[in-house]
Symmetry: none
Subunit: 401 residues, 4 copies
């Protein structure tokens, strides 16, 4: 089966998505998510100018060879733009392979390891009371796991918390600038988590996302402070370019650690995993090399008692979510899947077989990934520049957002 066409579709049904669609001579098509939030057009150009011309005429069945061809052949390896482009190709080829086999992709990955993919929802509150309301809502919707994020007194805006209905951080063409105080945050957060645990008891899994804003010793302090509330995980406590930075956290606290949404290859987390410095690896299909590569990350993790915790914010399109669920339903060491529902417009542009029910996402049984892009509808939502915010300390120092 030969690739005869490949096209990059940028659409913005509420937010921007970049999608690769591969077409074969047998009429089968496959889709791959290529969305890199705030850098969408760089990936689009990478694909359109430098990858698509290389795909035409290739054997669609040679997924591994194509991955190596794009990875090693580029000479310049790794990084978010490159790996997102490769991910898109890989995902689309697995979609085609599944359709060729007449099987959902998870069947090609070893079949179901569970009945459904347990998801966690986002409960965000500008204050603790509104947060409690949100947690309550999610639990009533069936969620067994909830990420709790809260406003911090004295800080105008905090990651994950919005006063609007839908939280989309990439809210402006030029980045919004927010002010951060580690001290205020560390002082405030434990009490918030305490309130949530007190209110809802031990039956719900609670998670919290630090969003890379602490140093290791600060994260260690926070991890210890949160131990009484038995978090399922503390996410992204520290930027992870220096993987050994996590050793400090690990020495001080038994609060489980999750990280990975910004990682692009297995090399970004190999030391974290081999040294057992983390408990959940949260890489996404779209940013970590597609199904072929992410499966390898998951397998390395399994060997070291690390479970998956797939990123699933709305910056991954339904194409990525479908692929993530194929992995999630089949990986033996699946942990949790993030679930932040897309808008109705997005769901319409990307018709999909997966569905939420009672705390689980189910990938469905359609051949391939079970998702497609409605190109006509997509064309109605043109790209709109939108950047993620930046974060500064009170003195103006640029800080991790």
């Amino acid at each position: 089966m030969i690739i005869t066409d490949a096209r990059v579709i940028v659409t913005s049904p509420g937010r921007n998505f970049t999608t690769l669609k591969i077409v074969t001579d047998e009429g089968l098509t496959g889709v791959g998510d290529a969305t890199l939030n705030g850098r969408e057009l760089a990936v689009a150009a990478y694909l359109t100018e430098h990858v698509v011309p290389l795909l035409i005429g290739r054997d669609a069945g040679r997924i591994e060879d194509t991955w190596q061809y794009l990875y090693k052949g580029a000479y310049w390896r790794r990084g978010p733009v490159t790996m997102t482009a490769i991910s898109a190709v890989d995902t689309a080829l697995w979609d085609i392979k599944g359709k060729q086999a007449g099987l959902p992709v998870h069947q090609l990955l070893g079949g179901r390891s569970r009945d459904g993919v347990t998801v966690y929802g986002h409960a965000n509150g500008t204050d603790t009371d509104s947060l409690l309301t949100e947690v309550d809502r999610l639990i009533r919707e069936g969620y067994r796991a909830v990420r709790v994020q809260s406003g911090v007194p004295g800080l105008e805006k905090v990651y994950g918390v919005s006063d609007r209905d839908v939280y989309e951080p990439a809210d402006s063409a030029v980045p919004t600038e927010t002010v951060w105080s580690t001290e205020a945050y560390l002082d405030h957060l434990p009490g918030v988590v305490a309130r949530v645990r007190e209110e809802f008891g031990p039956g719900v899994k609670l998670l919290h996302d630090v969003h890379h804003r602490l140093t290791p010793i600060e994260a260690a302090r926070l991890g210890k402070a949160l131990e009484p509330y038995a978090l399922t995980w503390l996410e992204d406590p520290v930027p992870a370019e220096l993987q050994s930075g996590y050793r400090i956290i690990r020495r001080h606290t038994t609060t489980p650690i999750a990280v990975g949404e910004v990682f692009n290859t297995i090399w970004d987390c190999a030391d974290l995993i081999r040294e057992q410095l983390i408990d959940y690896i949260r890489c996404s299909v779209v940013h970590a090399g597609g199904i072929s590569h992410l499966r390898r990350i998951h397998d390395l993790a399994a060997l070291h008692h690390v479970r998956t915790g797939a990123h699933g914010a709305t910056d991954m399109s339904p194409v990525c979510m479908a692929a993530s669920l194929q992995l999630g339903i089949s990986a033996p060491n699946f942990g949790l899947q993030e679930h932040m529902p897309h808008t109705a417009e997005t769901d319409a542009v990307f018709p999909h077989a997966y569905r939420y029910a009672d705390g689980y996402l189910h990938p469905g049984d359609e051949p391939g990934l079970g998702v497609d892009i409605d190109e006509d509808l997509a064309a109605r939502y043109p790209y709109k520049a939108a950047s993620l915010p930046v974060n500064r300390l009170a003195d103006g120092t640029l800080h991790s957002w």
Copy 2:
């Protein structure tokens, strides 16, 4: 698709093979090799008594879940008998999955990463001249890589060397006892390899198998002594229960090291791989947990610059060879595949799609593994007890064979 039957077939067309055949309600069947040389009936009993009853009624598509079910569910994990039994189930289910998809299994593993599977042949000589004759024969048959084994003056029998046409070490119901001298071997071998390299030049890959008979420091000495002859690998230099034993070898020589045919799980080689103490991992499908688990070993290896070097002596049936070729054609870090042709009787009992041509084995394009067992024919060759030899030093001390 539900498993409705599973049967264990023991046959001896020249040598003993144990095979598992799984049958589904949709009429598709799959085969898995379950041969453990010299311990065939232990695996057969493990499967017949303790595994087959658990398979009936299970979903044939849930390969990963079945693997975990048999591995974790047994409570008693690892080891050759257990893992060979699990391998057989896993392999047979991948065979079924491929047939269900209408695709050769390597398509489900990511497609071809190369045109053919480079194999190495066995050149054995009781003396150096007869060894040179054998190397010459193999090169004329197209082999690009040759394992060279030689008799040692003063030793009556040495592993890999036979005065008969076909070398089958399991040659007696009660083990043959041979006498070993590390000193004689270390003194003799380098000259033999030198002769072979001198005779055939740099164009042929040369390998040598130590068969676990040295200590690390002895192996380090041998590795250094062989450096001028640029071996592709030195195989099984030291027993590997203590993986850190290989550190000594590694410090002293750049001769590449291969090991793995006796390993049963990723835990038997994880330290060897993570510390980059070896260069080729030689686990087999039949003894290392089947396609599902061996793929994970290969992926861990790839991360650490270790290539595959699949075991392929005649104690693995054509079913195992077919599975090994499916992995070998698709794994990005494939290195070499051992090839020791089966007898015509064995080939007849196990009709297969793979074929040798010009130094390569080709898995063929049949759906599934591309191999089956002719049960009627198999029934004509009843099991015949045969044990591998044991090895003693001159003073009678039991030594690794």
Copy 3:
């Protein structure tokens, strides 16, 4: 003294046991336990087909050589089936050796290091009150050490806890499937242990068995939570194929750690011991290579401040218990011996010299092991297929049982 016969006896006086009986030309006989719970017939076949033919004619006195012969001679080393078979041979030969010497085996191991073998009993309760009743009963029976296991609210069945008189987990030909929740367990257990300690004071040694169900960080959290109640040990907190997994636990808690009932050789625990990651090594005679090999594990442990904590559930026959007591009475670093009394039927099939009194087991002074099998009686209890349970999470994921 020459081995003239060896036979494998499978009997089920309440539960299945596999026993090897070796007969010599001088009329002396020896017995070895070969029971591998749920995989009995695989070991039986390993022995009958592949080991017994090799024993006939061998010198019964060469225990060490026979061990090496079966271990290295098999080529395929390690694992539960292989090592259980070797254990049976080794144990039977020590039994013969003792009888030949006219001495109990512990005399050949260096004689008594203590007056009796301190045992711990099982207190199981579906709820805390019934557990307290059980602890009280054991203390009144003289036990100085008690393993406490409790039901968990919301979970129907939990390892070690039964609503029947006798707890035998292998309760069904096809495995029973149970549902597990780490969260519910971690939330519930510390309160239970607190109650027991509060009720019975510091005078009784308390133990708890996690049964391999946690990840390292979860186990670390549990260890910390239990510190106020001064456990003697926390058992099998984490699956141990990856021995370095125990480092995480060790960094976070001073709760002593015990592990080993699933280990088959010294290589399964050498890193755990050398890094001093554990405090008690719980290998059994029957699964860890017999008296010869287990003694070596104990010696390595002694060097690293690790004490013994021999497995002694009812899946080891009285033959294994007798052997375990010979080691326990003599090893300088003995810690504790598990004691879960056999049924009267079992005790009748295996007449033995050892006896319980006042918190101790005493091996007795009969020559050899002081145990035998009544083959006529054994024949009245035919094998009955019985599998250990499997364990799943609420979403259906297969979990360690």
Copy 4:
């Protein structure tokens, strides 16, 4: 001083270059190289769509803040496309800063640490004789250091060797595919280097580039084999995503090791440097975060006895070369600068102050970088798609190029 404009110029005077030009309200302009060979338009889009809009209105003097803004603010860090874009901005701002100060940039970096920047030239030969001719030519041109690359018998094309006048590997829109043989290369190369050393004596520094094509143990063997010829460095012996891979090489040979042209941040080489696994760090300004970041890499290197060895092939534009020389003339731990002269067309498009004389490059004393882009001339050379080659083994396996 405020940034009022920034534009991305893609031009192809013989080969493709991407250049960023920043314009300020005070009329000062700065240039930065943004060329990523074979992926030029991805960087162009990254800059045009996602970076330029953020630059307008910013203070041109806040170089550090802008670096952090683009690095941390993007959320998705690292990788060739992202870091090349950041490098271009950083380089252009340093150019402006120099002009503002009326000083060459090296004055702002601490002033000259030496009189000139020692460069090495490329001597390539399809056979050894033609290579010797090239080395001779370079020495006569004043080069004190020469990189020697040679054709390999049996291989049609080898990296760095061309039968045309100018070697530009990106020679085709769709990648050229070449065939590689590690065995042939390892067999051939030592003799070539021996010949060169023999011919030209100890007075010339010799270097060799492996181009990431070996495994660690193969590289170790090569390093040992080359020891008699006293290489100044062996370059890029092994792909370096797994930095610990270099430990193997280091244990076996004293041949100095250089690596870095594909690295994008300090995290790609921090382990290599801290463990002193390399001797020269060859990162380039354009791909490793610009002057600000590369200076930090150099400083970490200095701490660990590692010298610089800046990449300087023709895929870096004269803008990058100018920046590299500003660093090279000032860094205390400068080692060598690669020098592969650009075509006359390229030199015309990028008028520059640096000049070659007698084995040195001299950055000149113009304010800023001493380089500019002639935009009118650049416009006459439109972009022409060109990909770097890919490399396969004889069996078709994709290999590092």
